[in-house]
Every structure is written in structure tokens, then in C-alpha cells.
């Protein structure tokens, strides 16, 4: 009995020891030291949206390349990816871990509106540099520590419609959209352009994000006699809509969101229909098969450093969101600080890497308003049918 009591008493210091091994309160947070700068990103590496996880891995390519070339002013970039499974509570856990424990300096990218919204306040409070949240939702404007790159969905809807009406001469336009803010934002753009041309939308038909049978929606579209359909929805549903339409003998010109401009993937999941029907999408980066020195450099680097990765548009998007950070770090020089990088990003003017042309100022961190329109060629290659064009209409 006594032995037991002694053992129990001994357990107390053990417990204290266990508790004391938990990380103490964070020290002064800087995000970098003389040897490294810590950068993070979240993204769904597993779970329902895992296809978009390649964005986070694409950024790794650029940072690996930078490190291979000796880092930036003697500092290497240490890059962390946190898998959040597209679940905001996991995003929050991952981001807090990276900020509090790993002491990261900046975040790049970050897939998902909900995931981004969950952490926006926290990152802003902690003055963490954040570049290129991967969504065109409006909820991220007016944040002094976030620089946006993904075009506003309003502009996207407007430019797709402008192309259909003014370049292709279609008068009968219908709209098939995901029933949420994404669909509503883009619809405002569609409506604005149609109004300018004295046209009216034949019909706007909502799709639920979880729906997998779209035959009733497509039948309704067919009944309107639309020549062109603007579609704002996730890849799976766009594929289902296209298959259903073709099987019903309904073949309008489809124009989809820039989130669907990975033609190789879309063509694959539609068994080639995407290419056969010549589906068009908006786009805000140069085509992945573009023959420019920078694009070739990254493509070669990907083949060498990440041979298992497919050179796709989402992977490229990871490079795109990481580029401005590298520019800013290079410009700031050895005397690094958050404020210096902020000022460097605020003075980015008409600069382009493999993404859109960027201009940010202290007052405006808005994404670029210029987009392209692409068409899927017969072999799923990219045909640029409308070069960079700016949406000059403002949101009503």
C-alpha cells in the first residue's frame, strides 16, 4: 500500500514535466532569421477537393528553385504545406500552428473561399503577409496585409459575356450557375454586359454544388434555344452538364469559369467532349504550353525537381502566387522586415511573371481586371481566342 502511495506522489512531478514540455508562449515573432525565411500555404492534399492541392505544391517548385540558386540575399526559403482537407477548422489549426509554432513570415495562395475567410482575421491581426488567396470572392478586399491575384468573378462573368456577344455575335445567351455567391457575383457581370448591348438573359438556372444529375437543368437550357451558355460551376458539374447536353443533342457554345481552364483535366473527365465541343473558358495566366523563357524555365524545373507532378494550370498557379513574394524579398534586400516587404509589394507596377500583369498600390490590393478567353483545341491544347482584355464596366 505504501509503495503505491509513493508511486502516486512520484506521478505528480511526472505530470508537471509532461505539461512543461508543451511549447512555452511564443517568443518575439519575426518569421525569418539569418539563414531562412519561413513561408506557408494551406491546401487540400486529401479529401474531396484534393485536385486543387497542386497549387500548394506548385509554390514549392518556385521556392525550391530559388533555394537551388542560393536563396534570397543569403537566406533560404523554408516552405510549409498544411493539408486542411478543404475544411475551415483544419485550415485554422494549420495556420495557427504555422504562425505560432513555426513562426512563418508570409503565406502565399490558399485554396477555398471558406478556408480563407476562416483565417483572414487572424492573419490580419498578426500582420502576416498574404499573397494571392485562390478565390475571386469579394470578401477579401480592403485587407492591408493581403494582395489579391485571382480576378473578381464579376469581371470574369463580364468578359465571358463580352466575348460571346461582341466577338462571336451570339444574341441568345443563357446562364447556368452554382447557387451561391460565386454564381451570383458572376451573374452581375453577365447582366451588366447584356444590358449594355440591349440584350436579356434567356434564363438563369441554378445548380446545387452537390447535385450530380443535371438533366432537368440542361433540358430547361435546351428549351430556351440558347446559342451560348455561360457556366459558373465546379469541374465535376461542368463535365456532367456537358455530357448531358451532348446526349440530348444540345450543343451551344459553352463558356466557363477560369477555375476550369485546365483543359487536359477537363478533357480527360469528359472523355474528350471538352475538346470536341471546343469549350471556352476565361483565364488569367498565359497558357501553360506558352513558349516564353520564364515558362520554359519553370517547366524544365518541374520536370527535374518534381517529376511526378503533372504540369497543369493549378500547379502553375502555385508558382504564380509565389512569384510576387520572391520579387518583393529580392527588392527589399538583406534588411528584411514585414513592413519593408509590404512596401515593396505596394509598389509592384505592371509586372508580370508567368501570371497576370500586376499593379498594386498602398490603397489598392485589388486583383488584375484583365483576362483572356481560351478555347480547348482538338487535342486539349490551348487556343487563345481573346487576348488580354480589361473589363471596363463597374459593378452596379
Amino acid at each position: 500500500m505504501n509503495v503505491k502511495k509513493v508511486l502516486m506522489v512520484l506521478l505528480v512531478p511526472l505530470l508537471v514535466l509532461v505539461f512543461s514540455t508543451v511549447d512555452g508562449a511564443a517568443q518575439k515573432q519575426r518569421g525569418f532569421d539569418d539563414k531562412e525565411i519561413r513561408v506557408g500555404q494551406w491546401g487540400p492534399q486529401s479529401g474531396p477537393a484534393a485536385a486543387w492541392g497542386s497549387v500548394a505544391r506548385g509554390s514549392k517548385l518556385l521556392f525550391d528553385l530559388v533555394n537551388e540558386e542560393g536563396g534570397i540575399h543569403g537566406r533560404r526559403i523554408k516552405y510549409f504545406i498544411r493539408d486542411d482537407q478543404y475544411n475551415p477548422s483544419q485550415t485554422m489549426a494549420g495556420v495557427r500552428d504555422l504562425v505560432d509554432r513555426q513562426d512563418v513570415f508570409a503565406f502565399v495562395g490558399g485554396v477555398g473561399t471558406a478556408c480563407g475567410l476562416a483565417v483572414q482575421k487572424y492573419l490580419r491581426q498578426n500582420k502576416i503577409i498574404w499573397i494571392g488567396v485562390c478565390t475571386g470572392a469579394r470578401d477579401f478586399q480592403n485587407n492591408p496585409w493581403l494582395w489579391q491575384m485571382w480576378p473578381d468573378y464579376f469581371d470574369e462573368g463580364a468578359i465571358l459575356t463580352k466575348h460571346a456577344v461582341e466577338n462571336m455575335g451570339f444574341k441568345k445567351i443563357a446562364y447556368l450557375y452554382q447557387n451561391d455567391d460565386w454564381g451570383a457575383d458572376a451573374k452581375a457581370g453577365v447582366d451588366a454586359v447584356l444590358k449594355k448591348n440591349n440584350l436579356e438573359l434567356l434564363d438563369a438556372i441554378p445548380v446545387e454544388p452537390t447535385e450530380r444529375d443535371l438533366s432537368s437543368q440542361v433540358s430547361r437550357l435546351q428549351a430556351t434555344g440558347a446559342e451560348a451558355v455561360i457556366g459558373i460551376m465546379a469541374p465535376t458539374q461542368a463535365a456532367i452538364a456537358l455530357r448531358t447536353a451532348v446526349s440530348l443533342g444540345f450543343t451551344p457554345q459553352w463558356l466557363h469559369s477560369y477555375n476550369l481552364c485546365d483543359f487536359a483535366m477537363m478533357s480527360h473527365i469528359t472523355d474528350g467532349l471538352w475538346a470536341k465541343e471546343g469549350v471556352m473558358t476565361a483565364a488569367f495566366t498565359p497558357p501553360i504550353d506558352a513558349d516564353t523563357p520564364l515558362m520554359n524555365k519553370y517547366r524544365d524545373a518541374a520536370a527535374r525537381l518534381a517529376p511526378d507532378e503533372r504540369w497543369g494550370i493549378f500547379y502553375l498557379a502555385g508558382v504564380v502566387v509565389a512569384e510576387p513574394l520572391v520579387w518583393a524579398l529580392e527588392e527589399v534586400g538583406p534588411n528584411l522586415s514585414r513592413e519593408a516587404v509590404r512596401d515593396a509589394l505596394n509598389s509592384v507596377t505592371n509586372r508580370q511573371g508567368v501570371g497576370p500583369v500586376l499593379t498594386w498600390t498602398e490603397d489598392s490590393h485589388m486583383p488584375p481586371r484583365k483576362l483572356q478567353v481560351w478555347q480547348c483545341g482538338p487535342n486539349a491544347e490551348t487556343i487563345v481566342v481573346q487576348d488580354w482584355i480589361e473589363n471596363d464596366l463597374t459593378r452596379p
Partner: protein, 356 residues
């Protein structure tokens, strides 16, 4: 060993001085923890405690009353949305909003309990599953609920602003103390309820509902009561979760979350409050912390990254984490069907008879 000599000994909160002592030590440690915790750990602890409340409540339904439920994310969502909307739309103070939200959730639990009177086993599982899914979609369709875009939680003011009593909690550690206090209250309530007439009726229904009815237990009342109590817990947890996360959308409360809740209860140990707590702690810790940071663990992490890069796909490491979580669950169910609580009982027996 655990011999009881009279009824009052059986319903005592702490059956021995040892348990009392260790409970006090644990509580002191928990209250002192923020002194050394980082913000990240405070967030993780908050999430864990929210899950503990759900698991404790769910265990009353699944473990003690024997009614399977796969829709608790629905009650969780009701708690979160109701608390936030009551505060923002009707300016109701936090505590009142939390309690009303929990009662709304309990009311839905009661409604769901009605079909449960006629359904059992897999049929009940399907009914509750449908409930969880339906709630997620209904919320997504209503503009008031923020639609699919989700809702931002307001500032966490636990005073009564109307009377000029403002007490805003901004820091993660402030939230920690708030949630800890509520978790302790809810746990005590659960321990006690199982020692009351209602609690014994629950257990009787689980063991054999016909026999329970024969000895005079009103099945209608007690089955629906179990659902309502369990939903009440999920409602409180949801209300707290809204402030832990600060933002949520309908998809946050998807089917998988309901299943994770059930896993916590089963892994922890069915029918035991202690089991629910350990289950919730273990699963949340594994899901949100350990398996997310595997690659930063010295030696083991490097080894796993190397294996992953050699043999698995580009996202191998993260998928491996999910596999790891699955293996832990399977392992516990195979080797310790009573869950972590079962293992604890064995350790306790061994300890009591030590050194023999």
C-alpha cells in the same frame, strides 16, 4: 474491489479520495495550463474541449441509451448558427443565446427522437444520417443563415451589453477559460444524470427496451429525452465552436463530422463519460495536430517523408496521415473493443492487485 455498501456510496461524485485527489490535480493543471500554452495550443485545446462536450452528450445517447446516431453534426450546426444569429439579429447576450440555442437544438433532438421510437439499429442510423445531411442543405439555402457563403461570428462579449456590462473576450486564452468552465459543468452534469432515475432508465432501455417497459419505464419519454439531452450538448458545443473558429459555412458540418463524433465515442468507450473525454481528446489531437505535423517530428518524420517520396504519390504524406488515423481506430476496436476506457479498467485492475 469496487464493492459498494449502500446506495449513497454508489451515487457519490468521487468514489474515493484518490479519484478526488487526481481530479483536483487535473483541474488545477487545466486552469494553470494557459500560463505555458502557446496560442496555437490554446486553440487546439479549445477545439478539443468543444469536441469533448459533443462526445459526452453523444455518449449519453449512443453509449448509455443504445440509440445509434449519425446526425450530430446537424445539432452541432444548429447550436452554432442559432447562437450567432440570436446574438447578431436579436442582440441577445452570449450566455442567453447559447442556452436558447442549446434548447432549440434539444427541441430538434426531441423531434428526431420521435421516429426513433419505432426505429432501431441500421434504420435509426439512416434516419439520423438523413437529418444531419438535411440540416446542412437547409442552412445552405436560407439567406438569413448566410447561405452557402457562411457566417462570421460576432465579437465574443460575455457580458450584457444592454445593461452596459461589457466583457469582451478577444484572446484565445480567454476563450480557453470560458470553454473549460462550460466543459466542466457539462461533464459534471453528464456524470450526475447517469446516476439519476433518468440515467438508469437510459441504461435499462439500452439493455432491453421491452424489459424496461415492463418494469414501468415510459419509453416515449425516456428515448426522446435521451435524444434531447444529447442534442442539447451538441448545441452548446456548436455555440462555442462558432467562436473558436470565428467563421463557418454549412459544409463545415458535413457528414464526416458526424462520423468523427461517433468515432470519438466508440474509440473512447461506449457508456462512459471518462471514455468520451479521452476519445475526443485522442481523435482531435491526432486529426488536427500529430498527423498534420508528422513530417516535422525528428527522425520519424524524415523517415516517413523519405518513404512517402519513394513509394507514394505526390500527396502521399497527407493521405498517409488519414490512413494512420484509420489504423489507430481499427487497432483500438480490435484490441480493446471497450475503447480506451476498457484499457483503463484493465490497468486499474492490474494496479489494484499489484504486485500480484
Amino acid at each position: 474491489m469496487d464493492m459498494k455498501r449502500d446506495y449513497y456510496e454508489d451515487i457519490e461524485l468521487f468514489s474515493s479520495g484518490t479519484i478526488l485527489f487526481w481530479t483536483v490535480v487535473l483541474l488545477v493543471a487545466l486552469f494553470a495550463a494557459p500560463l505555458i500554452l502557446s496560442n496555437y495550443h490554446a486553440y487546439l485545446f479549445n477545439l478539443i474541449m468543444v469536441h469533448v462536450i459533443v462526445a459526452v452528450g453523444l455518449n449519453i445517447l449512443v453509449g448509455s441509451t443504445g440509440q445509434i446516431a449519425l446526425g450530430h453534426a446537424g445539432f452541432f450546426a444548429i447550436g452554432a448558427y442559432a447562437t450567432v444569429l440570436l446574438m447578431t439579429e436579436l442582440s441577445i447576450p452570449f450566455f442567453a443565446a447559447l442556452i436558447i440555442a442549446a434548447f432549440i437544438s434539444a427541441f430538434f433532438g426531441f423531434i428526431l427522437g420521435l421516429p426513433a421510437l419505432r426505429l432501431e439499429g441500421p434504420y435509426l442510423a439512416i434516419a439520423t444520417l438523413a437529418f444531419g445531411l438535411a440540416i446542412m442543405h437547409i442552412i445552405g439555402h436560407v439567406e438569413l443563415f448566410g447561405g452557402r457563403q457562411g457566417l462570421m461570428a460576432p465579437a465574443l462579449n460575455i457580458g450584457i451589453p444592454q445593461l452596459g456590462l461589457d466583457w469582451e473576450i478577444c484572446s484565445e486564452k480567454g476563450k480557453y477559460y470560458l470553454i473549460l468552465s462550460i466543459t466542466i459543468l457539462m461533464t459534471l452534469f453528464a456524470v450526475n444524470i447517469l446516476k439519476t432515475k433518468a440515467g438508469r432508465a437510459f441504461v435499462a432501455i439500452r439493455d432491453s427496451d421491452i424489459a424496461a417497459e415492463v418494469i414501468g419505464i415510459n419509453l416515449t419519454i425516456y428515448k426522446t429525452l435521451a435524444f434531447a439531452v444529447s442534442a442539447f450538448y451538441a448545441g452548446v458545443a456548436g455555440g462555442l465552436f462558432a467562436f473558436v473558429l470565428g467563421f463557418f459555412d454549412p459544409f463545415t458540418f458535413h457528414l464526416i463530422l458526424s462520423i468523427i463524433f461517433l468515432v470519438m465515442v466508440v474509440v473512447g468507450g461506449l457508456g462512459s463519460v471518462m471514455g468520451s473525454i479521452t476519445g475526443a481528446v485522442l481523435i482531435t489531437y491526432l486529426m488536427y495536430d500529430l498527423f498534420k505535423n508528422v513530417d516535422e517530428i525528428p527522425v520519424v518524420g524524415d523517415l516517413m517523408v523519405a518513404v512517402s517520396e519513394q513509394w507514394l504519390t505526390v500527396t502521399g504524406m497527407d493521405n498517409f496521415s488519414m490512413i494512420g488515423l484509420g489504423l489507430v481506430m481499427i487497432g483500438i476496436i480490435i484490441f480493446e473493443p471497450l475503447g480506451i476506457f476498457g484499457a483503463w479498467i484493465r490497468v486499474k485492475k492490474y494496479w489494484k492487485t499489484w504486485p500480484f
